[in-house]
Symmetry: C3
């Protein structure tokens, strides 16, 4: 069994794979942060989606008025959904890309730009920055993912 | 080629990786169940999102009245989205964690608690249980994922 | 290090794994296309979710009227969310399935049917086709994922 473990450890010892592991974890933690920001705005704006979440504010009509949408809460939720839509492709395509034998320098460039673009996207969404701030940061992450997908298909295509 | 196949099979023979495969599959099947529950409530509550879904109820205004939201349908959909937001990080970080060489006992502990917390979260959302039932089950799954992310970054960090 | 790289390359040299890499990339690119279609409808229908996105249409009330939902935009967004709900399980379970040592023929059959079903689902959603067109394409992709999950649990189960 320690021999198998050694083989697995070799995967995580590979520098490209370690870079993928690092940046994939960073963007996932950033995405998870959106849940905490949503909770923060729901509590400070007193805007909830479930009746059981408002029970601590009293009973009946008094609690019901907090079952509402709030612009700040909805903004964070849109940012969270945009993360899901863009980070899921990065996770899948990035893993396959890391296994397709790219140069370490090229791989790091892809991963760093993607992570930077998604962090910039979050700031652009939450501040919010005037357009095309958010649009550009979104497009950069999108283009990086397309570039990795091209490498995966060039290396592995088997239809 | 059978040699390569053997190498791949070694991955799935590793006990930590098998545990990851088992619990990742379980939580994904649980998430997929949300689609069936949504369909069940859409049909029993007669609440649909697309005009073509209501065509069997007749034509014109008679069918249009079923294009509406229903509290039970929306509740399941929120639970489904919460699954996506939390199970995607578990999938990605959990895979990297399984490859980072954790002790089998520790890895099983992480995977079991995460799966249990997400199953509890679904019951808390759908019954629904009074808070902090849902909040706690969410937080436990979140904390497990953070703990795995810490191990991944400690083992693999390559910026 | 080149030895490690060789081991990684062996993974991507395996035919089942290459097939997974190919079809996973295809369905993720298809999902990413939904972002572009959403942007296309938002711009042509002039229906936006964020105030900063409407700034180019003028100031004050003139711009505010474009902060609205549009049936075509909402339809694409539902299709995008349905992709997330179904492609995330395929990504995770499909990867584990590819590592569980299936026959190449059987694996290709699963991957091809899933990709075909999701592409059909998108056409059924966006045209839109009368039911049960969309329902059936959804169910086929769902059934393929369940079939792969069964193989993963049969091969790897470790609770």
């Amino acid at each position: 069994r320690s021999e198998e473990m050694a083989k697995l450890t070799q995967l995580i010892d590979n520098e490209v794979f370690r870079a993928y592991a690092t940046y994939a974890t960073i963007v996932l933690l950033k995405m998870m942060l959106m849940s905490l920001i949503t909770a923060y705005f729901r509590i400070t704006r007193k805007a909830f989606a479930n009746a059981e979440d408002t029970a601590s504010f009293g009973k009946g009509e008094n609690a019901k008025k907090y079952l509402r949408t709030d612009p700040d809460v909805e903004r964070v939720r849109r940012g969270h959904l945009n993360d899901l839509e863009n980070i899921v492709p990065f996770l899948g395509i990035g893993l396959l890309y890391a296994l397709s034998g790219p140069e370490l320098y090229t791989a790091l460039l892809h991963f760093r730009i993607f992570a930077g673009a998604r962090i910039a996207h979050t700031f652009a969404y939450l501040i919010p920055l005037p357009q095309p701030g958010r649009g550009l940061s979104w497009a950069v992450g999108y283009a990086v993912t397309i570039s990795m997908a091209y490498k995966v298909l060039k290396t592995a295509l088997y239809l």
